[in-house]
């Protein structure tokens, strides 16, 4: 027999978890809003740019290219964030941070993990895209390396941002390891052009390196020449974001040591 009091107690537990943890409450709205924004803009882009059979076919290639390149950003961010979380989950964090390791070495190792993740998944996705959709990823030639380099750099910066927040707010913020790239996604213009965004969003998008990479990718797929200025701007922005992320991590690490948060995260 089902006991209502038991169900009420279990529901109360979940409700309390949501009300006591702002990140959980934030997640409740975050994912549907991101989905709505991304697919809303995709629809607008489709309406504006897919005139005729050629237009729709081009849109599909934009979509496939976007999906493959977005994975580079996501995978490199995960390389950094999940490497850190693995140490938290396996209660290895104190062993690592009490070992003679520089923070730059720790981050460089997690960048390498991100790079390896990207390498493996890119190979698989490129092969599938070729055989299933006749989409040649290598049509971008030398710019492909710049696209990947820039998306990985931005992914690393987001990875550092993710672990900085987890370091500061502990277990409650762990879901940010997955959410952070998707906070950026509507502005990254992965599946649609910058021109479909409203004014303020366009300004944010142009301040982010991925928007320039994806715009560049669409230009090349549309048969236009490569814009070196756009790629240089993306690279310059990435250097700034990586520096800012490094400074943030350094600051959060100092706060974590001051407040005992490292030990708390490691032992809880």
């Amino acid at each position: 027999m089902i006991r209502p009091a038991t169900i009420l107690a279990l529901v109360t537990r979940q409700v309390l978890l949501f009300t006591r943890n702002p990140v959980r409450a934030f997640e409740l709205f975050f994912w549907p809003i991101v989905q709505l924004m991304v697919w809303g803009f995709v629809t607008q882009f489709l309406q504006q740019h897919s005139v005729g059979e050629d237009g729709f076919g081009r849109f599909i290639t934009f979509l496939i290219g976007g999906i493959i390149l977005w994975d580079a950003l996501f995978r490199s961010q995960q390389g950094v964030a999940i490497s850190y979380l693995e140490d938290v989950w396996t209660r290895n964090l104190l062993n690592i941070f009490a070992a003679p390791i520089r923070m730059t070495e720790y981050l460089a190792a997690s960048f390498t993990v991100g790079f390896l993740r990207v390498l493996v998944t890119a190979a698989v996705l490129a092969a599938i895209a070729w055989f299933a959709y006749a989409f040649d990823l290598f049509q971008f030639r030398w710019t492909l390396v710049i696209y990947y380099g820039n998306l990985m750099m931005f992914g690393w910066a987001l990875g550092i941002l993710s672990i900085s927040m987890i370091l500061r707010w502990g277990h409650a913020a762990e879901s940010l390891a997955w959410a952070v790239p998707f906070m950026v996604q509507p502005f990254a213009c992965v599946f649609y052009g910058v021109d479909v965004l409203p004014g303020w969003m366009r300004a944010v998008a142009l301040a982010l390196p991925p928007a320039h990479v994806f715009e560049g990718m669409r230009e090349v797929l549309a048969g236009e020449p490569v814009d070196p200025g756009r790629l240089a701007l993306a690279t310059g922005l990435n250097v700034l974001y990586l520096l800012a992320a490094g400074l943030l991590f350094s600051r959060m690490f100092a706060i974590a040591r001051k407040r005992g948060l490292l030990v708390k995260a490691a032992s809880s």
């Binding site: 140490d87 396996t90 209660r91 003679p100 040591r257």
Partner: protein
């Protein structure tokens, strides 16, 4: 007399309005084992974490091997190691993989040979190919101890190494610590709630209470000073705050 390998000078740690460690000073020399004794929340683990650079002190200084911890963190940590119940090696890797990785992090030459030597010393060679997460508490403690000895540390911090171990394994761990004391002469800082551990292993004891050093001396000296029959009884008196009456 040898210079101290570890010098903690009037260290204070505050977390908001709570003072976890309140003006503690101590010195540990090579070959000496100092026991940190105290009830839960006395400040033992916070003190150890400050010595490892995991928590920054609010006041005071920590010097290891004559070097300031904040300025020479890497040099100090390369000659230090620790074992605590609050940290385990990644459970999804084999024991020998974990130990070899940490041997490399500590810059140990001939990592494989060193790991094999330590596994033999700790009588756990049979565990080398086992998944770390599948070990029993006793096995896991000995693997963590192997990690703590990888770099032949000059300063060894052992935070409750016999917690949750059965008497047989706890006895083996104590014997191992004594063996390390005799053969390598590190400075050892040892916390435990097990009075037998403290009596058997430590040359000197610091009794911490509410972040301060309440008493210092050998087990016999502390027992006599607080008019207990044994260290256990003194510990219980302090835990129940009966010691204020004794002091006055």
């Amino acid at each position: 007399m040898d210079a101290p390998l570890l010098t903690v000078d009037r260290i204070v740690k505050r977390f908001g309005s709570f003072t976890a460690v309140d003006g503690v000073s101590l010195e540990v020399r090579g070959g000496e084992t100092v026991g940190l004794l105290g009830v839960n929340g006395a400040g033992k683990t916070t003190l150890m974490n400050m010595i490892l650079g995991l928590i920054t002190p609010s006041e005071g200084s920590i010097r290891s091997f004559g070097l300031e911890l904040e300025r020479h963190r890497l040099e100090i940590l390369a000659r230090t190691n620790f074992c605590t119940t609050y940290a385990t090696l990644p459970g999804n890797l084999k024991v020998h993989h974990n130990l070899e990785i940490f041997a490399r992090l500590y810059g140990v030459k001939h990592a494989r040979e060193k790991v094999a030597e330590l596994l033999e010393l700790l009588e756990i060679t049979r565990l080398a190919d086992k998944i770390t997460g599948q070990l029993s508490a006793g096995e896991s403690t000995r693997v963590n101890l192997a990690k703590a000895l990888l770099n032949d540390p000059d300063l060894l911090l052992l935070d409750e190494p016999t917690a949750s171990l059965d008497p047989d394994i706890a006895d083996k761990v104590r014997k191992l610590v004594r063996h390390v004391q005799r053969s390598r002469h590190p400075a050892i800082l040892y916390t435990s709630h097990n009075m037998r551990d403290i009596e058997e292993v430590c040359d000197r004891i610091l009794f911490l209470h509410q972040g301060r050093i309440l008493a210092e001396g050998t087990a016999d000296e502390i027992t006599r000073r607080f008019e207990g029959r044994n260290l256990d009884e003194v510990f219980i008196k302090i835990a129940r705050s009966e010691i204020e009456a004794l002091q006055s």
